[in-house]
Amino acid sequence: MPISLLETHMAKKDVHQGTLALMVLKTLDVLGTLHGYGIARRIEQISGDLLTVNQGTLYPVLLKLEQEGAIGSEWGTSENNRRARFYSLTRAGRKQLHAETKDWEQTTALIERFFALKAEDLK
């Protein structure tokens, strides 16, 4: 089921911003320095049809991450010779990514075990 970030913008913004932020951090971790468009493309490629990101929603998330010090940015030149802002992971961001990845894995593992549970297992 495709999720539009824009549609749920009002209702569950925080959750999705959080998820999106994690995706951004992971992308920068894997690919190194990247501009906004590059990050958007990458998230699109990985998620395939499951996630239709309105690319624009990425920018407030980037701003927040930068304000928090998880990523840094500087002007650079894009593939087609335009001025573009390039983002990269900072040390704090790497630490945050590790912590959140671990967190996420624990949560999913826990939820998996609950879903694997069948009624008869409790007897």
Binding site: L6, H35, G36, T57, P60, Q67, S78, N80, R82, R85
Partner: protein
Amino acid sequence: MKALRRFLLRFAGSITRHGGEVRLKEEIDAHLALQTAENIRVGMAPEEARRQAVLKFGAIQVVKEDYRDGRSLPAFEHLFQDIRYALRGFRKNPGFAFAAVLTLALGIGANTAMFAVVHAVLLKPLPFSEADRLMLVHLLGPDPDAGPGVMRERTWSYPKYRTFLDVQTAFDSTALFSSRELSIAGDGNAERVRAEVITDRYPGILGITPIVGRGFTGQESHLPGASPVVLLGHALWTRRFGADPAVLGRELQINARSYAVIGVLPAGFRGLSGDAELWIPLSVISPAQLGEEYSHNGYVIARRKPEISEQAAVAAVHVAGTYVHLAHPRGDGFSANGPAWTAQGVSLSASRVDVDIKQVSFALSGAVGLLFLITCVNLTNLHFAKALGRKKEIAIRMAIGSNRWRVARHFLIEGALVSVIGAFAGLALAVGLLEAGSILLPRPDVLFQAPLAPGVPRLLGAAGLTRIGAAMIEVDGIVLLFVCAITAFAIFAVSVGPALHASSMHPIEVIKKAVSCGTGHAVRMRAVLVTCQIVLATVLLIGAGLLLKSAARLHATFIGVDAGGVLTMRVSLPGRSYSSERGTAFYAQLVQRVMSLPGIESVGLGSCAPVSGGCSATGIWFPKEAPREGSGKAIVGVHWTTPDYFATLGVRLLRGRLFSALDRAGQPKVVVVNEAAARAFWPNESPVGKVVALGQGDFHDGAEVVGVVANVRYHAIEAEPVPDVYLPLAQSYVPGMQVFVRTRNQPENLERVIRREMRVLDPHLPISDVRTMEQSFGEAMWRTRVAAWLFSTFAALALLLTAVGIFGVMAQTVSQQTPEIGVRMALGAQRRDILARVLWRGLLIATAGLGAGAVAALALSRLMTILLYGVEPTDPLTFALVVVVMGIVALAACYVPARRAARVDPLVALRY
């Protein structure tokens, strides 16, 4: 950490608004260009490629808004918007804003000034190192004046102090000190200065070290025959020696004896008596006192050991005091079966201010606090009316989506803005008031040291400490904190009512009704506020009325002398250069010389000026009569006078004769008594011809009473006259005299010529306290007058504010009821009925407020008993008068709106 970092960045973003948006725009452009290029690469036409890129990006405006909110703090920006809006409102209606700020400035300013004074005098730590460990130690002895068994704090004699020093265990170090006035000369003019006679440890106990030179040694202050040395105060050092550090070893003439300067104490330090400029060791200036067991005139200051609590120290002092009594068993009021003397330790901070001064301070603080409350109520009312006037606007704002919080916040911000501006103006006013006070008042502590109500026991040492406190009056951190606190209160009081009211409004109802003015609920609320105002104003008015009546009573009190045209000054002859014969001769010459000046009616000398307080008193007994009933000996005031003293001051002779030139040394001793003494000692017979003996003036052996004169109030105007005895100066010499000169001309012009005459007699003789008798009476009434002025000013302001409040509410009621009034008139109501109806409503509010106010005043006016003279705190006349005045003002404030109501044209009222 992360959150804080983000908050700070956003805060910075709120201030520098634009950079971020330019950056976002550039990023979006780059993003779209990259996506378009990508789209073209996969085969789209350029136009289509661009369109798809934009579609994929999503709503650019929403992203921008999100981005902007994320970059800055929206709440913060809204706040700025509201402030700008409120300021615009003030600009549009400057009269309202000005009135609001002005009232608040008055309220906050008066309160701040009062707080600064009370804080400095009562609360602020004294400026000595570890002042909480300092204690005054007093002897505690029986007070025969007050009745059997009553103990009173007393001063020390040197031998008693030494005994105490030997047995006490609670203190690290102690010192004996006393205050006195000295004449100094040499290198400049002769002048009188206040000095402290001390023992060596005194500066150290207070944490004071000389800035130049050294302090006294133990030898210098405890052994007789030490060489004369003196410590200078900073002001005196600057004044007489030009702050020259090479002052050490220079000579200063003190009471006609040469003293070597050995040190200078730091600026601002005036001793525990608060006005000292010189410090002299006890053993140097009065070596005789080192051996006099029963010559009590020193205070003891002591620094408690850190490990000993205050209670433990008090207990230890009590025990030590008992030892002192055993070692020196006789004393004033001594009787074999009377209570034993002991000693009492009091922390320095507890001795700061006399009880009555505390009450005066609290009464005035209460009054100014009430004024502040009235100010706040008035502003609440004003803002309330304003909020009602803007009802429609608010309703529309809410109808198109503004939330209640935002509307309420708008009023809060408006109130806060007015309050903060008012607070700044008030602070400026307070600084100005304190500044003006310090310039206008002869001494900063005059309000606190004027003679107070009689019969109140003085705290020993309090006068000096109060003086120290008064010197510390300033706007400091604590005072600023106080300003913040009352400003917060003002913000709350001013904006909460309107904010609640406006935000609880139902927009639909308001717009439907299209009534431009208040609802019944709102009018009721305002009426309640006005009633509160009347209550507060009534309390203040009654306080002011009682004080004014006291001041009038005080003014009308006959103190027993005719003060007009009399100039007075103090002359003290130094004991070293004036023997009693030489002194007596000097005084005779002085009288003669002054008498020969043109325009002089008479010249008299007396040892003590009327209403000055601090006259000598001594025991009296009757050698030729049987011992009288009652415990102990009677005490009388004792005054040395020349024969013309009575004529000069206009003191009437009631019986017998006055002194004459024949009553001189070698002749039979005579005295004159006052009416109070005659009544007290010889209630049913004539005192003339009786024989009395006195404890002072070498009159132990008895003297004949030759006359009775009218009572003179020597202590204070408020104090009932006490029995007084007058001795002829020619038969009993004292070195310090007050000169009284009655002239036919302006007494002020006399000073110069009299000074010239004195210089001819003795060029080094200092003259002090030159003033007319009228001036000294003015000073004696100062406290009551100031209290009455302050209270009256506060009360007048309160009355004005209340009248404005009543007027506002009634005017609003009338304008809201205009259609109703129109209907009534159309149905036949007379103008008179309408007028009466409105006035009746006003009267209702006024009656409720006045009733409650009178009851509150009844409860509160007791607190100011000590300020009153000749008036009961429940004086019915004052209460009645205030109620009438307040009622008239209330009705007058109602009358204008009532007239307007009565003039309503029913046709106009019904049509619109």
